[in-house]
């Protein structure tokens, strides 16, 4: 947008005499309260601050902790024992692992 109105040479303003413009004066209180009310509507709602998770202190002895943290593998069922059973079991585990990866 242009900063100034384009003015032709014939439109040059030589003098202006604009006096005695009727003026009305009022207090500011009502405008102040209405502007505050408008401001409240335009304010964005405050985001709820996420509270930090409380620290959980584990009062567990280290040897027990080690035992609990070790991963226990499920035992091989009795029916699967034997070389053929173990082989079938291994193949089944392999297929389920691949299907998990594909998922």
């Amino acid at each position: 947008m242009s900063e100034h109105l384009p003015e032709a040479a014939s439109d040059k303003v030589k003098s202006v005499h604009l006096v005695n413009i009727p003026t009305k004066v009022t207090g500011v209180d009502i405008i102040e309260s209405d502007a505050k009310a408008l401001g409240r509507l335009h304010q964005k709602p405050k985001r709820q601050q996420h509270q930090p998770k409380p620290e959980i202190k584990l009062h567990v002895k280290t040897d027990k902790l080690k035992r609990h943290t070790s991963i226990k593998r499920p035992a091989v069922p009795e029916a699967s024992r034997g070389i053929l059973g173990i082989a079938f079991y291994a193949v089944g585990r392999f297929i389920s692992a691949i299907s998990n990866v594909i998922k």
Binding site: L5, D11, H17, T23, V25, A37
Partner: protein, 371 residues
């Protein structure tokens, strides 16, 4: 005041400004949006100065401005010219932009420092009209930026809502009844759901009433502005005005009903809404009563609770724009007003009491012991 805060209602008949002064008071200034080209003579400019009339010399021509244009029109028998027509800049007047610039500059003046804000009113696009509002808004924006203000446009109907529906969380319908256009705005919590303009307004009433009874339009306008009561017209001119007013109000209600019938815009409202009207065309007594009765007759798409006239209807749009401007620069304005109020209300310290010197007790007469 750290930052100037001003507003402008740029209407077809009047240009009104509102500003916050350093003593935290609102000053409204009003000037007629009219001019009259005068025959240039040496004595004419002296006459205009002596009579303290408002005028401007542009190029080789002399123009009477504002209220003085109407005075000179009465003396010379000519018709005044208007920089605006139908709510926007008049395309038939080549000097419309310059005249409007002079009027705006006389009302708001140049910005005194940085950060000055001026909110100005613009109409919505009327039905089935070419898009002149864009040009009109662009010219006003350029004029205000040239004077050093950050210029922001506000829809006229929304300005009426800012002014009259603060107690209803700026929710409802605002109708600005001007001379060139009637602007309607539907708002919910200061968010505009719909805004449009109707191209019949005060000038339409004057033109048709004058044609119907054979009186000049400016005389009919004077009767309209001179305390007309639409429910009890006193003479032929007032009767003609009352008939055209009723027709206009009926037309406005039908336009609103057609626009919002089966519209998703009104589905936001569960309860009844308030309607507030403003502008010079809504001033005659009986306007609100006729509007209420027309709303009852028509199957209005919204439930209406109260229909009222804004406080100071002629200044309501400038006041509404000022509320928007104050909200924009609110932190400075509110701090300044609070500080001004504290100094004005501070109780005066009582003057220190003048301490009277302690009076010495009179000496008791000594008793002389006689031996």
């Amino acid at each position: 005041m750290d930052h100037e805060i001003k507003s402008l209602d740029i209407g077809t008949m009047h240009v009104i400004s509102a500003s916050v002064s350093a003593d935290c008071r609102i000053r409204f200034k009003k000037i007629r949006n009219a001019f009259l080209k005068i025959h240039v003579e040496q004595s004419m400019s002296q006459f205009l100065k002596q009579e303290e009339l408002q005028y401007a010399e542009i190029g080789e021509d002399l123009y009477a401005l504002g209220d003085s244009a109407f005075k000179m029109a009465g003396i010379t028998g000519k018709d005044v010219s208007r920089p605006m027509q139908d709510g926007v800049l008049n395309p038939k007047e080549p000097r419309a932009e310059i005249i409007l610039k002079l009027l705006i500059e006389a009302l708001v003046g140049k910005a005194q420092g940085e950060g000055a804000i001026c909110y100005y009113s613009i109409p919505a696009e009327p039905f089935q009209r070419e898009k002149r509002v864009i040009y009109h808004s662009g010219i006003i924006h350029t004029i205000l930026e040239d004077l050093g203000y950050k210029a922001v446009a506000v829809n006229e109907g929304l300005a009426v809502i800012y002014s009259g529906l603060a107690d209803r969380h700026f929710t409802g319908i605002g109708i600005s009844c001007g001379c060139g256009l009637i602007n309607v705005c539907l708002s919910r919590k200061a968010q505009v759901l719909d805004a449009f303009a109707i191209d019949r307004a005060g000038d339409w009433i004057d033109d048709n009433a004058s044609k119907a009874i054979g009186e000049p339009a400016h005389k009919v306008m004077l009767v309209k502005e001179g305390g007309l009561n639409l429910l009890s017209p006193q003479d032929r001119t007032e009767n003609a005005l009352a008939i055209y007013y009723k027709d206009l109000i009926q037309y406005v209600v039908e336009c609103i009903k057609d626009r919002w019938h089966d519209s998703g815009r009104v589905s936001h409202f569960d309860g009844p809404v308030n309607i507030v009207c403003a502008g010079g065309t809504a001033l005659p007594a009986g306007f609100i009563a006729i509007l209420r009765s027309e709303l009852k007759k028509a199957r209005f798409p919204l439930r209406v609770d109260q229909v009222s006239l804004a406080k100071d209807p002629l200044y309501a749009i400038a006041r509404g724009c000022l509320i928007g401007a104050v909200n924009d620069g609110s932190s400075h304005f509110i701090r300044q007003c609070a500080a001004h109020r504290r100094t004005a209300c501070r109780p005066k310290k009582p003057s220190p009491a003048v301490k009277k010197p302690r009076s010495r007790p009179k000496a008791r007469p000594r008793r002389i012991k006689r031996s």
